[in-house]
Every structure is written in C-alpha cells, then in structure tokens.
C-alpha cells in the first residue's frame, strides 16, 4: 500500500510538471497564431476560364516520392471500411492479419516491419510506444478522402519533423465538406451481414458562419466474429469463438478558415473497444487460449494551425495530447491469482512547429522541430514506468529546375529516457539524411525517373527495453538504409483515357535488427540487436481508366511485387535464408465497371508461399493463397437525399487460408451497407 501511495504522488508530480510545459506551449502557439491572422489580404486577380479536357493526372504518378493512393471513389468500391482493407492492395505491402473482425492487423512494407511504418491521420501520428505497432483495424475509412502509402517520406513543403522519421508513411486524410447551398450535411449508414455484423455510423457536418465548420462522426461496430474454418496446414476444423468485438469511435473536428486563408483546426478522437482474442488453433486442444480478452481506450486531441498557403513563408503548428489504455486478460492462467490481468496506460504530449520558405522559385527551404514526451505505466510488478523525451529537428531543401527535381533532408533525433525502477536506456543522438532525385524524361507521355536514398532508424519500443525479464534496456535503435530507383509514367492511349505504369527496384539493408533470442533460459527470450537483413525486390504497377464505352466506364489496376529479404547476420544458423513471414511474391488485380449509378467491382489478392520460421524448409512453409472479393454499388438520388446500397462478397471462393501460422482466416462472407446522404 505504501508503495502505491508513493507512486501515485510521483505520478502526480510528474504529470503536473508536464502539464505546465504543455500549457506553456499552448500559450506560445496561440500567440503566434494570433500574430499571423492579422496580416493583410493580397489584391484579387481574375483569370480567364479555361475548359480542361484531359484527365487530371494522379499525384502519385507525378510526385518525386514513390507513393500510392486510394481515393474515396475507390474506397467505396472496395471491401471493408478500415485502414487495413485500404492498404492491403498496395504494392510492396504485406498485411499481417490475425483473422476475423477484431483480429489485430499490422503492415510490413518492403520487408520493414510495422515499427518502421508511421501511421498518420489528418497529420497526427497514431503511435504506440509500448509495442511500436499500430492496429490498422482500429482506424475507420468511412470519412476518409484518401489513404496513401509513401516510401521514405512525403516531399510536401511544410510538414512536422515526425513525418521524416519513419521508413514508410501511411496517411489517412478526412474529407473536407463542401457546402453548396446548404449549411448542414448528414450521412448515415448501416452495415450488416456475416459474423453477426452490426455497424451503424452517423456523420454530421455543420457550417458555421462563412468559413468554419464542424464535422462530428460516430461509428459503432458490434460483431460476434464467429466463423467455421478448416486449417490447410493440419486439417483441423472448428469454429472460431471468443472473437466477438464491440467498438465505438467518435471523431469531432472544428475547422476555421480566417479571412487571410490561414486555418485553425481542432481534432478530437475517441476509440473504445472490447474484444475476444481467439489465439492460435492448437491440435487436440479446442479450449487453448479460448478466454483471452482485450480492451482498448484511446483518446487524442490535436490543435493545428497553418497560415496562408500562398505566403512565401509557410507555417504549420501542432499541439497534441493523447492517452491510450490497454487491458489484457487471460482468466485461465495457472498462477496463484489464476489469471493474468495486465493494464497499460500510455500518454503522449506533443508540440511541433514547421516552417517553409520560398527562397526563389526553384528553391524552398524547410525547418521543422517536434518535441514530445511519452510515458508508459503498467500494473506489472516492479515496472520501470519509463518516460521518454524526444526532440526531432528536420532541415530540408527542395530544388526544382526544368526537368530536375531534388529534395534533400537531414533529421536530427535526440532522445533521453528515465525510469522509476531499474536502469533507463542510454541517451541517443542520431543524425539521418535522405535524398530524393527526380528527372523528367518526357512531358507527353509523362515519363519520370526517380531515385531515393534514406537513412532511417526506429527507437526500441518500451516493450523491447523494459518488459519484465524480456526487456533489454541497452538496446540500440534499429537502423535501415533504403534505396529505390524507379521509372513512372502516365498518358492517355486509345480507349484508355488514363494509363499509368510504375516500375521500381528497391534495396533495404537493416542492421542492429531487434530480435528475440534466449539469453536467460529457454522460456525467457530477450531482445538483442543482432540481426542484419538484406532485402531486394521490384514492384510493378499498372493503372488504367477507359473512356465511356457504350456508356460504361471501366477502370482496372494490377500490381506485382517480388522481394527477397535474407538473413545476413554474421554466423547466423539461417544465413542467406528468407526471413520469416515474408512471401516472395504478391499480386493484386482489381477491375470495376460503372454504368450510370451502378458500379460493379472485383478484386483479387495473391500472397505467395512464405516460411513461418527463419529456417527455409518444407515443414515451416505456409502455402500461398488467392482471395477474391466483389462488390456492387447502387446510387439512388431521391429529392434532396442520395441513397446508396452496397453489397459485398468477400473471399468469394471460400478459400481456407492462414496469414499467421495457426490463425485461420474467415471463409466467404457477405455484407450489405445502406447509406443515406443529405
């Protein structure tokens, strides 16, 4: 008891000093914002109206950085309404899915794990400093305008330093409402179908005054998540139980654009869920891991300000506070308590200031500085209770002259940590450069050469460092060197009003890879920096869109990735063998046909065979699989409303497969979504 009071007191003290710092930053921020909102308006200039006939080229086909995007229209046609469903069709992506509605879903991009991928929603990073992995199933895409994956980093001028700190970035942008004659929009939908799915959503957009609006949305999911399975690896059949989920997601945004075009936005996010964790299917034991449960409770609030986008000096400020609570329960553990009931609370206090200056037409300089504090508290015995202070500063320059485009950046990361129990990780100061080069060969058809070099690292997570018995607080950051060389082009060709092709060759070298090895005994595996991985591969992407042929417009895309990521750790027992869970080949193809208000779509995803352990032998192989989905969309305008009906069939051919060994995926499933927009 005495211990608890002391830790409570310590927590309060620590919290109050952080709160003071946080308040100070908010004050500074608000005063700076005020200064800029008072600058003068420029004179208006009128231009002659010009009709544009060609299809607008997609950003990802012209950009300096290697990028893939899925738009709102494409999101409507594809299956699922969470971030994982959106990114799994991207080239170079392997989705690690534990199965079912509530199963955890993380991504691997070009052999770099989830810890190397930053996930941003409206410019705010979703981070989990305990595990380093973001569960993409938690992020809804119902209100997203687009979802993008960028290799390396985005070259947008004014962005926080954190955008430079990951090997790959997944970004989800919410749509800004368009108010024509009304000041109020409402969208409501209901999705129902397999797994006992019940998913109502509601979103309200309200215009306030001339230039402000609020956007509030609510998304509730309830499903029993049960399905029959037959595991291909050992012919075990059964029914997936304890995979129910109940979740509530609330989002609120307030955006205000001032008369000088500067913008202030306030963003609130709340997520609460309870789910069953079905665990691995064990031969002979249908009750193994049959009662584990997981609770999540996440909240963040973000304040963002950017000044007039046409100013020579661009400014972007962000202040954020977030808290994540996770509770894991195993009520059948054979210890004295008869259970494991672990509770973790993470907090993050974040402030960022980015500035970008147009020196001359061809040269832009940017400087961004982010400061954030992460804390983790857990009810584990003698838990370290670490606090990490991170300061990131990114200096970048962009030069564009005629056919040449270049973007260089340097990121300085300074990290200090302290703990309440045990030793803290040592101080880290890392400097990582990156260079992007683009050379346009021809204008029409547009063909461009792209090159990327990026030096990146990821800090060890709190679990890597401090988890009881497993953690190693001397862990160094995991480093990666990324190279990409590609050619991309777009044009129109015959019946194709838009066609784009991308070919990329990439090479990643990971060193000091954090790997678990037994260092105390067989049951206790600790984290060490012993791994080195060499990954090389190619990505091929093709997208086409046809003109209206007999009133029907067709669009199709396909992408293919081949990669080899081998273990090159010196003296490794599995030297030159493919790392675990990385298929050599992945292929996605999708096509859709649109006739007036009906759209039919079909997507097929192929993941080749992979090994579940580092040793590449037949006994460790998981077979490859093809999974196909189809959807039918029907829009019906009624007076001032628009009704939409969507029917989707996932895994049409009822393919039984596993992504993670012994976690069977669902077979065929159906969903119907009815939405009303007015």
């Amino acid at each position: 008891m005495q211990n608890n009071t002391n830790t409570l007191v310590n927590n309060k003290e620590r919290l109050s000093s952080i709160k003071k710092l946080f308040l100070f930053i908010v004050l500074v921020f608000v005063s700076v914002a005020n200064l800029y909102s008072q600058s003068k308006l420029k004179d208006t200039v009128s231009i002659k109206e010009v009709e544009v006939k060609a299809v607008k080229p997609k950003t990802e086909d012209k950009s300096l950085e290697s990028m893939q995007q899925i738009s709102r229209v494409e999101l409507d046609r594809s299956s699922g309404n969470t971030a994982d469903a959106a990114v799994k069709t991207f080239s170079g992506v392997i989705l690690k899915d534990y199965g079912g509605v509530g199963g955890i879903k993380t991504v691997m991009v070009r052999s770099l794990g989830a810890n190397h991928t930053g996930v941003f929603v409206d410019g705010v990073q979703f981070s989990d400093v305990a595990s380093g992995q973001v569960d993409l199933g938690k992020i809804s895409t119902d209100n997203a305008d687009n979802v993008s994956l960028t290799i390396g980093q985005s070259t947008q001028l004014c962005q926080p330093a954190r955008f430079f700190a990951s090997a790959n970035v997944i970004s989800i942008h919410s749509s800004d409402p368009v108010f024509d004659s009304t000041t109020f929009h409402c969208k409501t939908s209901l999705k129902s179908g397999s797994f006992g799915m019940f998913n109502p959503t509601i979103s309200l957009q309200n215009k306030i005054g001339k230039r402000s609006f609020t956007d509030v949305s609510c998304n509730y999911v309830r499903a029993n998540g049960e399905y029959r399975f037959k595991m291909p690896s050992n012919d075990t059949t059964g029914r997936r139980t304890n995979s129910d989920i109940q979740s509530l997601n609330l989002n609120a945004r307030y955006v205000s654009t001032f008369s000088d075009s500067s913008k202030l936005s306030v963003n609130l996010y709340f997520f609460n869920s309870e789910r069953g964790l079905p665990g691995a299917v064990i031969i002979g034991n249908p009750f193994a891991n049959s009662k584990q449960r997981l609770w999540n409770n996440d909240f963040f609030s973000n304040l963002q300000f950017n000044n007039n986008p046409s100013h020579r000096l661009q400014l972007l400020s962000n202040v954020k506070f977030s808290t994540n609570y996770l509770r894991y329960l195993d009520p059948e553990y054979n210890n004295i308590a008869g259970k494991i009931d672990n509770r973790y609370t993470q907090r993050e206090y974040y402030a960022s200031q980015a500035a970008s200056l147009k020196v001359i037409d061809s040269l832009h300089l940017s400087l961004a500085s982010d400061f954030f504090v992460n804390t983790l508290d857990a009810n584990l015995e003698n838990y370290a209770r670490p606090t990490r202070y991170s300061w990131l500063t990114a200096l970048s320059a962009r030069y564009g002259y005629k056919r040449l485009e270049a973007n260089g950046s340097l990121l300085a990361t300074i990290v200090r940590e302290k703990t309440e129990n045990g030793n803290a990780a040592p101080a880290r100061n890392v400097l990582t450069p990156s260079l992007l080069l683009g050379y346009r060969l021809t204008k029409s058809p547009f063909i461009k050469l792209r090159f990327l070099y990026k030096d990146v690292f990821r800090m060890p997570t709190f679990n890597d460092l401090y988890y009881t018995l497993v953690g190693n607080n001397n862990l160094k950051p995991e480093r990666a060197k990324q190279f990409n060389l590609g050619i991309s082009g777009y044009s129109h060709l015959g019946i194709f009003e838009y066609i784009s092709i991308k070919i990329d060759g990439f090479y990643n070298r990971v060193s000091d890879k954090i790997v678990a090895v037994p260092t105390k005994n067989l049951f206790v595996w600790s984290m060490t920096n012993i791994g080195q991985v060499d990954c090389r591969g190619t990505e091929l992407q093709l997208q086409v869109q046809t003109k209206k042929l007999a009133k029907i417009q067709y669009s199709a895309m396909c992408n293919y990735t081949y990669q080899e990521a081998v273990d090159v750790t010196p003296n490794s027992a599995t030297y030159n063998q493919q790392i675990a869970y990385l298929p050599f080949e992945t292929f996605t193809a999708s096509a859709s046909a649109n006739y007036k208000s009906i759209t039919l779509s079909y997507t097929s995803l192929f993941n080749g065979y992979r090994y579940v352990l580092p040793e590449n032998i037949y006994a460790n192989m998981l077979h490859g699989w093809w999974v196909s989905d189809a959807s039918l969309l029907y829009d019906l305008p009624i007076k001032k409303c628009k009704l939409r009906a969507k029917a989707e069939v996932n895994n049409i051919f009822d393919k039984q497969y596993e992504v993670i060994n012994n976690f069977p995926m669902p077979g065929r499933s159906f969903f119907v979504t009815l939405s009303m927009i007015f």
Binding site: D235, V281, I283, G284, N285, F287, N335, P518, A573, N662
Partner: protein
C-alpha cells in the same frame, strides 16, 4: 546224471550272482540324462525414437525414428504412420511396457504409441472440464503411469486401460516427476508466478495414491530423475539471475535432501546404471554446452567434461544412453528455431556419427528387439 545237476545248480547260482551284481551296479550307476540344448536369446537395438519438442503455438511437435539397420532417420515418423500430427509442444517421452508415452503439453494430451510399429494406440486428453491441464512430465510405477500437469495436479493412468483414474493435487506448476522406492516425487516449480517460485517436491505414496509429504528444496525445482539406489536427483533452476541452477539429491528412505552440488550449474540429466550424465549451458555467454559425469552410487563428480575429443555442441537439449551398447546420444537444438541433430558418442566420449532430427530434439528412447524377430 547227478554231476550234470550239480553243474547246472552252480551255473544257476553264478548266473543269479552275476544278475544280482549287475542289478546292483546298474541301479547305482546313473542313467545318462538327455543332453540340454542351449538357445542363444540376443537382444539388439534396431532403432531409436527422438522426440522433437517443436515450438509453442506452432503445432509442430514431431517424432523422429532412426533405424540402425540402414542408418536412416525419418522425421515426422508419427505423422507418416498415423496420418495426423502429434500436436503442440512435445514436452516428455518415455518407453514403458512396449509403449511410447509422449506428453504433448500445449495440446494437453498424452499420445500412446506402439513401440514396434509407431502406430498410435490411444490419445488421452488432459482437461478439467473446458480448461486444459497442460501435462508436463511422466513417470511409472508398476502398472500405473503418473503425469504431472501445470495446473498443479498429477494424473494417475492405468497402463493397460490407458485411462485417467485419479487426480492428485500437488504444489504449484509441477515440472518434473520421478519414481523411487514405490513413491512418486513431483517438483513444484511455481514458475508461472516468477519471481515467487515454489520450492517443494511433493511425495505421493503408490499404495494410497495421495500426497504424503512435501520436501523443502531450492527455488524453482524442475527435472527429476531417479537412480537405482533409491535417490532422486532434482534440478532447481533458481531465478535466472543471482540464484543459480543447482542439482540436489533426495534420499527416498527418509524423504529429505541429502546433498546439493554447489560447485557447478546443472540444467538436466539422465542416469543409466551407475552414471549420471548432467548437462548445462550458459545462455548469457553462449559459450557452448557442458556435459559432466557423476557417480550415482557415491554422488561424486567423476568428470567435468564427458566429451574427450574437440566436438562442440551448441545447445545440449537431451541425453540418452543405450543400456546395451553404452553409446551416448546427445541432442543439439542450436538456436531453437532451426532443426536440431543427434550426435552419437562412444562411452569414451569420442564422437562416432550424427544425424538430423526435428525442431528442438529432446527425449530419446531405444527400440530393443530379440534378434531375428
């Protein structure tokens, strides 16, 4: 005529005397008995079984069969003979009464296999209602098999009916079991409550099938092996930090610890005849494995290093000695994620040959049959 009668009488008398003489002689002289035909019954080892533990939640426990006739190792032997997999985490294996008992811990069952054919006889599930018991190790006494389970119980199995007859409650998280002096000794590790380990060994009486005593030992007791002198050797694994792994000897006559080997660390052992083969490896320094020899009769260290040539074993995970040939078989699990191997040493500690097994090979058993059969 009279003389003739006289001679005839003499002859008759002489005849009777000789007859008597022969009668007496032959009755004293032993009749030769029929000669005994000596039949040469010779046992030989035709093969051996190796249990491959596999990895947790991977469903890849397996059985390797190595045939001495053709020097061929068949991995997935159980799967090939039975068209189904063993299960998840093969934790212990023992051959008793012509049957192989394989304790598959995470699948929570014991697989009983015919030792000659490799065909499964029965799969015994270990569940308390809907809760898996997680059986860990097995020991035998007369016609019963005793299996200790991680939920703090010991199951008694009849070796003919192959059914669980009784559950006996012992200490926390038992992880070792052995039989000596008609009593069953169970190590209560308490490992799932680390660092609050248990530190007792439960004693079960065979007659009443109840726990009669708990012996105090060093914290975190696990593997238990009995010798032929009524001693039970128990390894206490400490706390993986300052409290080291130690080998203790329990005397089954008075059920108390009579000796603790404080000079070295030990991980596990096997005892054949008068010799205990004790192995250890230091995970932290990864300096390789060590096999020591201890005299089981006097409990003294004979040799610090059984291996006499320069053979290096990365991670010893099991030792078995063939009682017929005295060859010592040692398994090497490497880094626990790569298939292991079995190395055969002569009794002089020199490597003879090796063969590949499965993932994390541990316990081994020999198939000894009569020659020609």
């Amino acid at each position: 005529m009279g003389n003739m009668n006289k001679y005839l009488t003499y002859l008759l008398r002489f005849f009777v005397i000789i007859l008597l003489f022969f009668a007496i002689n032959t009755s004293c002289k032993k009749e030769p008995t029929a000669p005994r035909i000596k039949i040469d019954t010779c046992y030989q080892t035709t093969g051996m079984y190796i249990l491959n533990e596999g990895l947790f939640n991977m469903n890849n426990a397996s059985l390797t069969y190595y045939s001495f006739d053709d020097s061929l190792a068949t991995t997935d032997y159980f799967e090939s003979k039975n068209n189904k997999k063993l299960g998840d985490t093969g934790n212990d294996m023992a051959i008793y009464g012509g049957k192989i008992y394989i304790v598959v811990s995470t699948s929570s069952h014991v697989e009983v296999v015919d030792v000659k054919t490799g065909k499964g006889i029965k799969r015994i599930p270990f569940f308390d209602g809907n809760k898996p018991r997680q059986p860990r190790h097995i020991a035998f006494c007369q016609n019963k098999a005793f299996v200790c389970s991680f939920d703090g119980t010991v199951q008694v199995i009849d070796t003919t009916k192959l059914e669980i007859e009784k559950d006996i409650k012992v200490g926390r998280n038992p992880d070792g079991i052995a039989m000596a002096n008609n009593k069953i000794y169970v190590s209560n590790s308490g490992g799932l409550d680390s660092p609050n380990y248990d530190k007792t060994v439960s004693v079960i009486d065979f007659g009443t099938l109840t726990e009669i005593k708990r012996i105090a030992v060093l914290i975190n007791p696990t593997y238990a092996v009995a010798d032929k002198y009524g001693d039970v050797y128990v390894v206490s694994r400490g706390n993986y930090d300052d409290v080291k792994m130690r080998l203790q000897v329990i005397d089954s006559k008075n059920d108390s610890v009579k000796k603790t080997f404080n000079d070295f660390e030990a991980l596990n052992l096997t005892i054949v005849g008068d010799t205990a083969y004790v192995y250890y490896y230091d995970f932290a320094s990864a300096s390789g494995s060590k096999i020591m020899l201890i005299d089981a009769k006097n409990e003294t260290l004979i040799s610090n290093n059984f291996i006499t040539d320069n053979s290096k074993i990365e991670t010893v995970y099991g030792i078995a000695v063939n009682p017929l040939t005295h060859d010592v078989f040692v398994t090497d699990a490497h880094a626990f994620t790569k298939t292991g191997e079995v190395i055969c040493f002569g009794s002089n500690g020199k490597k003879k040959y090796s063969f590949k097994a499965g993932l994390n090979p541990s316990y081994m058993g020999f198939l000894n049959v009569v020659k020609g059969k």
